[in-house]
């Protein structure tokens, strides 16, 4: 299992059994330590729940999770949208395609079963996403859930083979950047009017949060579906194409 120490040894440094043993023991030690920490965790320490409760009336929404996401720790959500935009830029195909956002394919394979299913599902998903976005103010829900739903129905629509979405078109880029741009614009405007970045005025907080969430929903939906389709459609992100265009 363990090799003798041999200064002239030039072979493989890989010892499967030894690495398994070392990794297993290290992880077991970490596991023990973490379980110990959980047992020592003070269940009566209520965290910052009380601060959230005290200030929930100022936030413009009544759901504490939405209040934390879009008001008390809005920086986190802003940076999250920035991360999403960076990831989608990194995975976009290397060359731009001309053309509209959605192209209807006349030829090619159409999956009629999914097409028939999609006719029934797509409108109801749209409605449900809108409801989730609205419900986020007072119940579990919000931009991420609504965006994920819309992205799911987008993926299903791509599966029918009838539609192709061109994620490098100008329209798609605007939709991808919409959430972050609107968020930053609101933040900068609030510096001008209120003196602080993302310090909502008390009487318009709910409206601003709803508008930001609406733009973020669109961006998240387009982002997630483009991440999916850039992965499954290799012709869209072929690195050799990038070189050909670049040279």
């Amino acid at each position: 299992m363990f090799n003798k120490i041999d200064l002239d040894y030039n072979g493989s440094a890989w010892d499967s059994a030894a690495s398994r043993l070392v990794a297993g023991l290290s992880v077991a030690g970490l596991l023990f330590f973490l379980v110990l920490m959980v047992f020592k965790h003070d269940v009566h320490n209520t965290g910052i729940r009380l601060y959230v409760d005290d200030n929930i009336d100022l936030s413009g929404v009544s759901n504490p999770v939405t209040a934390v996401l879009l008001n008390f720790r809005a920086y986190d959500t802003l940076l999250e949208l920035a991360v999403l935009l960076i990831v989608v830029i990194a995975t976009l195909p290397g060359h731009n395609q001309q053309g509209p956002l959605v192209k209807r394919m006349v030829q090619g394979e159409h999956n009629l079963v999914i097409l028939a299913l999609q006719r029934g599902i797509a409108p109801s998903v749209l409605m449900f996403a809108g409801y989730l976005l609205w419900a986020g103010a007072s119940q579990p829900g919000g931009a991420f859930q609504a965006g994920a739903l819309l992205a799911g129905t987008c993926v299903l629509m791509l599966q029918t083979g009838t539609y192709r979405i061109n994620y490098t078109s100008i329209m798609a880029r605007q939709l991808l950047a919409l959430g972050l741009v609107f968020f930053v614009a609101v933040g900068l405007a609030l510096i001008f009017f209120e003196g602080n970045l993302l310090n909502y005025p008390a009487d318009h907080g709910g409206l601003l949060i709803l508008l930001i969430e609406g733009c973020a929903t669109v961006s998240i939906a387009v982002t997630l579906s483009s991440l999916y389709s850039n992965l499954v459609d290799p012709s869209f992100s072929d690195p050799t194409d990038t070189y050909r265009q670049g040279s």
Binding site: R49, V68, E80, V87, P239
Partner: protein
């Protein structure tokens, strides 16, 4: 032993399984999947620790997990995209450990 504690310990177990996978798996796809398993364990731990009693739930870890899920999905997509490109440029996605 209440249910929150049970979920916390299960979350730690899921995290440990993912960590072992990241360290020991040689295929990049398996490493990415193991990273996802690690993430799920962390989310589970955070959600379980956020519950203090029947009615008292700390919303901040919930918001963090909601953010983390989206970031995790985006990171996975980026990793898979890089893996596909690596596969196209070289012949294999296995680590060349056994030379």
């Amino acid at each position: 032993m209440n249910s929150a504690l049970l979920y916390s310990i299960t979350g730690i177990g899921v995290f440990a399984i993912g960590l072992l996978g990241v360290v020991l798996a040689s295929h990049i796809m398996r490493k990415v999947l193991a990273l996802n398993v690690m993430g799920v364990g962390i989310f589970m731990l955070l959600i379980a620790l956020a519950k203090h009693s029947e009615s008292l739930v700390d919303p901040v870890p919930h918001a963090m997990v909601l953010t983390g899920i989206v970031i995790g999905a985006a990171g996975t997509a980026l990793a898979l995209n890089l893996m596909v490109r690596l596969h196209k440029m070289s012949d294999s996605t296995q680590e060349k450990a056994k030379r």
